[in-house]
């Protein structure tokens, strides 16, 4: 691997239990800065669980226990002094179902930066809102109706609005859990294109059940099975010549 590639996230020996059930069995993985990394695998293999570990979304689940290290540029995100709210501005999450706030399009973007005290209301906030919406490739579609409710947009637009909302707090990493599964093919293509643009500035990790999406949209692919990381490599390698037979079986549809 080229030496100029640097790890954004370094995961070592990550185990997770839901009560007595061990859902992740010790995952080691380096997530490279400025790349799109896809997690694939049959449903229930732990993709979402693992993704949620990357910004401590599992913390609030009762009975959930995590062991091992997750380092963001070398800093342990599970260290006791870490402010989880602050952490989530660095590592944002976009969910399967678009979930805009029941507020105006403008407010959807301005809300978090205001709370975090990043920007005052006024021209600076206007600029921040526009920049975030532009980066999420939705500005042209909403610039004339910023005061309308975000929930009135189409599903694909809502998802891009949620991406804009994530971008608004200037994260390092954007986690996406099946962000296109509720979208039609055209809206999906827009999100995939957006990921390609966003990786210039952000590191993106996406869980997808759609293998073609992983093939199209990601630079690196990690294949999970029953709580283990089976294979991780460049997407082009995984999809043309995987080195593990289980990966081969899964991506050629010979699974189960």
């Amino acid at each position: 691997m080229a030496t100029d590639m640097k790890n954004k996230l370094t995961i070592r020996g990550l185990k997770l239990w839901y009560g007595d059930f061990e859902a992740l069995h010790g995952i080691d993985l380096d997530i490279l800065a400025g790349k799109v990394t896809a997690f694939i695998g049959p449903s229930g293999c732990g993709k979402s669980t693992f993704l949620r570990c990357l910004n401590r979304m599992n913390d609030r689940i009762a009975g959930c226990r995590v062991e091992g290290d997750v380092l963001l540029e070398g800093n342990d995100i599970y260290a006791p002094d870490v402010d989880v709210v602050q952490l989530r501005t660095h590592i944002g999450m976009v969910f399967q179902k678009p979930n805009p706030f029941p507020k105006s399009i403008y407010e959807n973007i301005a809300y978090a930066p205001r709370i975090h005290g990043m920007v005052q209301d006024g021209p600076d906030m206007d600029e921040l809102v526009e920049t975030a919406l532009r980066k999420a490739s939705i500005w042209d579609e909403v610039k004339d109706k910023l005061q309308q409710p975000g929930t009135a947009l189409s599903g694909g637009q809502q998802q891009r609005l949620c991406i804009a909302r994530t971008i608004a707090v200037q994260p390092d990493v954007i986690l996406m859990d099946e962000p296109c599964s509720a979208l039609d093919p055209i809206a999906t293509a827009k999100i995939e294109e957006l990921m390609d643009e966003l990786k210039q500035e952000y590191t993106i990790v996406i869980v997808t059940h759609n293998m073609q999406q992983a093939a199209r949209a990601s630079d690196y692919t990690a294949y999970f099975y029953l709580g283990d990381l089976i294979e991780y490599g460049e997407t082009s390698q995984i999809f043309t010549a995987p080195s593990n037979q289980r990966t081969e079986d899964y991506i050629t549809g010979r699974f189960g």
Binding site: M211, A215, T240, A241, P242, T247, D249, T252, R254
Partner: protein
């Protein structure tokens, strides 16, 4: 490998392989028959090679159609993808080999009155090349890397013998002008055989890619063998 969950795709892959092997069988037969027509000065055999080339061409078109639709409809990955890519390339090499055998047959028809005068080197050359073709097809049929490497390795011998044959041939023609027609025929046959060998090598290399995912084209045989045994990484 476990069965494909999509039974129809599994069937398509099987039938694709069978079609390639059928086409390969026809090509091998064409090469053998063209050489028989040379050595036995048998124009009816030569004519048969020419007539049968149509079947080879038809298979090429059919296989191309299959691979096109499989790429478009099945979005193949990994081993399936490599099989299909290998097939697309192999089919071209087979079709060309068929044409080259046909070229030999045509040369026989054109020089019926002046058959070969010296046959022993060309016979040896033909034997080697036919073995190359056979090895390449066996390699494909059984995903047999040893057979693929044998085919590639044998090419050195073929090239050496081909050069020797052409030199030998030139001497005959210079020594005796009456040998010129036969000499030119020998030269055409030799050249076509040597090219058939090259196509067999291409096929063998695609089989290695298909099986291992390594591209061994444009590396020497030793390096290729080392890559395959895992001693070397290709990059």
């Amino acid at each position: 490998m476990p069965e494909h969950t999509l039974k129809r795709f599994e069937d398509e892959l099987t039938s694709l392989k069978e079609k390639i092997l059928a086409m390969g069988g026809l090509v091998e037969k064409a090469v053998r028959r063209s050489m028989k027509s040379v050595l036995q000065v048998d124009t009816s055999k030569a004519q048969k090679v020419i007539d049968r080339d149509r079947a080879i061409n038809a298979l090429e078109v059919e296989i191309d159609e299959m691979t096109r639709s499989m790429l478009a409809l099945r979005q193949p990955a990994a081993g399936d993808l490599r099989l299909i890519i290998a097939t697309i390339k192999i089919v071209t090499d087979l079709e060309r080999s068929g044409d080259l055998a046909e070229g030999i047959a045509e040369a026989v028809l054109q020089s019926e009155e002046n058959p070969l005068t010296h046959t022993s080197t060309i016979e040896t050359l033909a034997d080697l090349v036919i073995r190359q073709v056979k090895d390449a097809l066996d390699a494909f049929a059984r995903s047999d890397l040893d057979a693929a490497l044998k085919c590639i390795e044998r090419d050195k011998k073929v090239n050496k013998l081909y050069k020797a044959m052409q030199r030998e041939n030139l001497t005959y023609m210079l020594e005796d002008p009456r040998q010129i027609t036969a000499g030119l025929l020998a030269s055409t046959i030799g050249k076509n055989l040597e090219r058939i060998g090259d196509h067999a090598v291409n096929i063998a290399e695609m089989v290695i890619y298909m099986v291992k995912g390594h591209d061994v084209r444009h590396v020497d045989h030793k390096t290729a063998a080392a890559i395959l045994s895992g001693e070397l990484d290709e990059d």
